[in-house]
Each structure stands twice: as C-alpha cells, then as structure tokens.
Subunit: 143 residues, 2 copies
C-alpha cells in the first residue's frame, strides 16, 4: 500500500473503465505493472469489487430514510432478520441513543411504512424512529 496504490485506487474510484495503459501512464508505470498492482489490490480485498453507481430515483426508489432501531438483547440473530428486508441498504450497530441505524430506500412513503412494519417484526426490536431524507446534497467517493 504505497502512494502508487493509493493513486490507482483513486483513479479507479473516479472511473473504473479506465484501461491499464491509461492507469499506468497516470502513475508512471507500464500497463502490465499497473495491471499487476490492481490485481493484487483485488486479491487482498482492498478493492472489494467493480460496480456501477445507479440513479435510485430513475429505478423507482424515490424515498430515502434512516431508521433508528431500539432494542438491545439480540445483536447477532437480528442482523439476518434485517438483511432479509430488501429495502434495507445499510445496517450499523451504533453507540448512543439507539441500537442499530438503518438506511432504507423505497418507492414511496407507503412502502416505507411497510418496511418499518417488517423491521418491527424482527426479533428483539422494541421501537423505531424514522428520519426521512428531503434532499441529498451529495453521496460521494472519499479522496
């Protein structure tokens, strides 16, 4: 993980369709050497996968919400319960006023209501507080 690896990661985060020739030129290496470094970054799991960023609204998910989930004596088993709800994009155990924080994307408020009902049915959940996103300033890639 030297400076060149970090540059390669940054370049690929911006645009993962760049050729190894272009990547190599940008960091001062040959196409083959750039390829080998990226291959190792993938192998070591520093690069998890190559994917696409989508426009969620265009795909029919107009509502984004965060859900604070209360309830404590469960941890392990409920991760699976939350993962089984397809509208839940992220689930984090947090320190502070609740146990778990979820990021949820749904088509509308009706579907959000349905997701909240299903969250409530997960073992150990005693309550939820929901924060609806009105506008997203940015969701970006950290440098």
């Amino acid at each position: 993980m030297d400076e060149i690896d970090r540059m390669l990661i940054g370049l690929l985060q911006e645009d993962a369709t760049r050729s190894y020739a272009v990547l190599g030129k940008a960091v001062g290496l040959s196409s083959g050497a750039a390829h080998e470094r990226v291959r190792k970054l993938r192998e070591r799991g520093v690069i998890r996968r190559t994917t696409i960023e989508v426009d969620h609204e265009a795909l029919g998910r107009a509502v984004t919400a965060y859900v604070l989930v209360d309830g404590g004596a469960w941890m392990g088993e409920s991760a699976a319960g939350l993962a089984a709800i397809p509208e839940v994009e992220e689930a984090h155990v947090i320190a502070g006023p609740a146990s778990v924080l979820l990021k949820v994307r749904t088509a509308g408020t009706r579907d959000l209501q349905d997701v909240l009902r299903r969250v409530f049915e997960v073992n150990g959940v005693t309550g939820t507080r929901t924060v609806v996103v009105l506008e997203t300033f940015f969701e970006r890639i950290l440098k």
Copy 2:
C-alpha cells in the same frame, strides 16, 4: 426501462467487469444488443458511473460516524461548506429532529473530533449530535 434493463443493471452492480457477451447471454441477447442497452442506460444517467468498492479500514478509515447537524436558516450556502470537508461522505437534508445528516469516515476518534469542529464552523450550524458506528452489519447493493 424494461425487465431486461433491470437485469442488466443488477448484473453490473454485482460485477461491472462482466463482458457484454456474458451480459447478453444472461439476458438472452447478443453482445451488441446488450452493449447498446447499457450504453443508453449510461447516456440517460440511470447508470451514473462505473467505480470500485473499497475496504475503508484497509485504506486507513477505521471510524464511521453519523452526525446530526442542527441549524436552519442556511440550506443553500452550507452545502458547499460541508462538501469542503473531505471526510464527509454523504450529506442529506432531513425531516425531523435536526436539519442535516452527515456520514463521516475518519482514521480515528481524534480526526472525528477535528471534523466535528470544522462542521461547527460551517455557516448556520448551531449544534451537532454524533453517533459512532461500532459495527457495520452490511452496506450492500439493493436488488
């Protein structure tokens, strides 16, 4: 945006290195037809970009936190102020107990403290409440 487009998007979200030949076979089209559909999805902005998912911990960002930002009479100008803080990955205007919700990634709690100080210096901010992530169950791609 028919069912085939949705399948192509799903396949590319899982692995954007798949060839058009593979994509075409998976959805029952030729390589050229699959390519044309993906090109149009990009053109229309449904596919925003191709990128890599990284292991933030491996890149020296071990701490994830959510920051509820209080303060109201500002909206427009402060988006730029928040975007100027490189550790802020997301910023959303929310309905509810605060004005803005930030997702922040830092190397450690010391850096988190520094980010909070800079958030507080943004015009219009009157207070912050921070929730530190103890464990991330998942951050995934929605189907």
